[in-house]
Amino acid sequence: MAYATGAMPVSRRTRELVLVGVLLALAVLVFRANSRKPAQLSALDRVVLRASAPIQGALAGAVSGVAGAFRGYVYLVDVRRDNARLLDENRRLQLELARTRLADERATRLEELLHLRAELPSETVAARVIGVETSAHFRVIRVRLDRGAGEVKPGMVVLSPEGVVGRISRVFGGFCDVQLAVDPESAIDVMVVRSGARGVLKGKSGDDLFRAHIPEMVRGEDVREGDEIVTSGIGGFPPELPVGRVAKVAKPDAGLWQQVLVAPAVDFARLSEVLVLLAPPPPPDEGGARHGPEPSRGLRPPR
């Protein structure tokens, strides 16, 4: 076993510095390369993600079941006290009730998804949320596809009965990462229903309230608090899907633009099932793939 003996020989120190330099240069290169093509996964990425995702799914399912049963148990604890004589019977019923409620909630959600699926122009695949991002600076969820793993591609649109969820960012086996509409890297072409004003919706990074905004809407466009925002139909999203409502309009003292803060229609904190639209993703934007469609600068869509 080797032990440090104080001063390092110069040659060894130089070698160490070179190694560190090479490692950091490699790190920078990996970062630069992948920031341009974020959807590409290497063989190592796939191995790690395919090994992790089933565990995440199993863990999410197990914790969900235990938490659901526990919630049902706590909810009816007073009833059990009042009926001490029927304690055992109550416990059994409570657990059954909790399970039934969970099943009922899930059935309702799935029914809503089915209604949405029937209304959509192309085929869809259902998916269940099994994980969320581990960084405060990004908004991504991990989902398990019910079927059609080979058909889902990066860039495809993800929806819920409430509205737009986001886009597929990575696919590995039967699992995908979905970039939410509130992620700072997301860009969705949207319009105001009342006035037809258009802009590009972007996520607001680092905000725990899951908000998005339209940073560059032409100052003269008619937009007010409470206005409904829907997709414009450009950039792969079907037209007129609910995106959210205008929460605030900020007009700086000078400049061409006004900023519109949007409260999303989807409750991202409670998202459990989603639909992936199997329409082909929009063609890649060479040299600017991460930035989405260009803002319309206030042009109104044809009616």
Partner: protein, 195 residues
């Protein structure tokens, strides 16, 4: 000079070791799976999960073990795992963790971290710097970013809350990591971080 056993008064063993490296990587992987899955299921109001990967990199750096290159490589590997779970552009956490590992190793000879308060304090300051680095790298990668109205404050708030969450977890995470380190480095004279 290489010897087969440490003589009394001789310097302590400085290598990380393959076993400890794999153990730290495994810890990071399991922690990421747990944080990601539990946050999805429990649906508590969005308090950011503690950055356990950053804590592991910080711990490894502060132990002062290993060469700069090996610590940097371990930090990069942990950062790579972080990228796969954070939804960030691949390489962002890799680069940030590699740099953090080097800085922590450089500071290890001047910084003695003992007790839960000191551990939380060091973790908080480090998490603030780490969060700022991640935001800066993200802005660099995207070419646009948090410079618009309200963005800077939202990012600053996220960095602050995430740093608080990480600092709160640090006094619980460091003892676990110390156990792992002691398991692989049983020399009773070995310095431990956070004890």
């Amino acid at each position: 000079m290489a010897t087969s056993a440490p003589a009394p008064g001789s310097p302590l063993p400085r290598e990380i070791g393959a076993g400890a490296t794999l153990a730290f990587l495994g810890c990071g992987w399991i922690a990421l799976i747990l944080c990601s899955s539990l946050a999805a299921v429990l649906r508590v109001p969005r308090v950011p999960a503690p950055d356990v990967v950053m804590l592991i990199v910080l711990f490894v750096g502060l132990t002062g073990r290993g060469t700069a290159a090996s610590v940097c490589a371990l930090g990069a590997a942990l950062g790579y795992l972080g990228d796969l779970f954070a939804g960030s552009p691949k390489g962002l956490h890799l680069l940030a963790c590699a740099l953090l590992a080097l800085l922590a190793r450089a500071a290890s000879s001047r910084l003695l971290v003992r007790g839960p308060i000191a551990t939380a304090g060091v973790a908080f300051v480090t998490a603030l710097g780490f969060g700022a680095a991640v935001v800066t790298l993200r802005v660099t990668a995207l070419g646009d970013g948090p410079l618009g109205d309200g963005f800077a404050s939202a990012d600053a708030r996220a960095v602050l809350v995430s740093a608080l969450s990480t600092a709160a977890a640090a006094p619980a995470v460091f003892p676990l990591l110390r156990r792992i380190e002691r398991f692989f480095h049983r020399d009773p004279r070995a310095l431990a971080v956070g004890s």
